[in-house]
Amino acid sequence: MVETLGIYRRLAFARVRADWQYRGPFIGYTITQGLISVLDFVQIAVIFGRVSSLQGWSVAEVAFLYGTSSVAFHIGDVFVSEVEFAPKRIRLGTFDSLLVRPMGAMVQLCADEFAFRRAGKLVQAVAILVWAMAAVSVAWTPARVGVFVMMLVAGTAIFGSIWVITSSLTFWMIEAGEVMNSFTYGSAFATEYPMVVFGRWLRRLFTFVVPAAFVNYYPALFVLGKSDRLGGPSWRRFASPFVAVVMVLLASFVWRLALRHYRSTGS
């Protein structure tokens, strides 16, 4: 495991060095990525220019949701979203070379397609989260800090799993990449707002189907000491780690299935 991480680090660094050969675009892209995602948050700020709270959530509290979701999403984006390149590599025929090496295909794929420029967005997400944590009126007890750390870890695992699952599905539907994006980016967008602003069917979708609500909404209820206006059971506030484990297991199963399918069709 430690050895695999070491190899991952070398392969990912090789990719960064390769990208650095084209450093103009590399730097430009990293900076613009950060700037563009600032606009994302500006959009939320604009809403609060008109209203002082969203269904009982203050601007700082929504910023907290936005920050936790973005940090989790972009850590996943930096390290796991590379699995999206699987169908492209299958089309180009370069997927096979991953399968003849003595390492898991997913680790190699994620390292090989590692894109440092995505870290630009992560910086912006961390900045907003830090601001939100200072602005919300919360007494940071050990329990709250614990749940807060847990939500970032579980959130990253949930988003990462969504990426792996949707990318695995493209093994069967090579052209379905755009549809799959609506699950990944769609769930990231949904978690930037409190679940209460959505209609009932969307809330159910994000709780039971694509469990994005467990990334931040439910644990945030506990951290921020808020009541769930929707009256969901209170255990949901602590369920994120279990949801994350289930999602990771599911993702690993679907990925294996996809690999198995590829290896028997060779498409």
Binding site: I7, A14, R17, R263, G266
Partner: protein, 334 residues
Amino acid sequence: MIISLEDVTKEFVVYRRAEGRWLRRERVRVRAVDGVSLSVSEGELVGYIGPNGAGKSTTIKMLTGILVPSSGVIRVAGVDPQRRRVELARRIGVVFGQRTQLWWDLPLRDSFDLLRYVYRVPSARHASNLDAFVSLLEMSSFMETPVRQLSLGQRMRGDLCAALLHDPSILYLDEPTIGLDVVSKARVREFLSAVNRERGVTVVLTTHDLSDVERLCSRLVVIDHGRVIQDGSVASIKDRFGEFRTVVVDLEEPGPPLVVPGAEVVKVDGPRQWVRFHRSATTAAAVVASIAATAKIRDLTIEEPDIEDVVTAVYRLGALSSPSGTARAQSPRE
């Protein structure tokens, strides 16, 4: 046996548009490999040849564990390649002639360095292998050049080195000489034969270039329509299928084309004449005797059958002898 295949079959399901029906697809089963049985001993250098679509690459992919056979049993180095793919990867080297395994934007040396970690090769072993291959393949002048700037021949040498740095006991090559010029081809062949001879690496290569086979391989396996249609030493196959041989004679004086029973003169160049005969019609001895009776011979050589002609004959006879050979696609299923 380091490699064995027992009655291995690989079917693909392909979709094609149904005739006359818009938006309707037909499911068609295509048998790319059809009951191949084969075994390779340690240290052999086997040429696996066949026309496009004969099932060569599919077989190689099954041997590496990339593809799972539809039926049959495969053992490579004692294990089932599909189940133990990752573990087996350490013991095999693979070169896909059309696609490089090297890191495109980095200096060649970096690829070798990364592979040391991926395959977890002890650093002293890696260094001594690298030294040996760099000098054998004459790569020292372009080790610091990014792979994307290498010529095709240089890149192929890089790929060969990359596939062997971890001391694999088996090396698979899919079209290793495709697109290379004559000099590069020769260099690749020399290298492969050295690796096979000196390191005892078992080599299986697919190729379209029959001169590869002739110069390199101790054994030839001919596959067509997914079936093995010939398997033997290059010499024995030539012997069986080389239908025509040619006696080249240098006469004392230029003259009209000779008349030889059972043979014909195919070319005349001054005093030199090429007399070709079918092996069923006569023998080299009879042809030479007949020429000596009518003209003065200064020198003569006997040309062995050309490998291209031999393989053409193998394909032709193979297609005749396998009844289902041409009807690969079975009846469509909905």
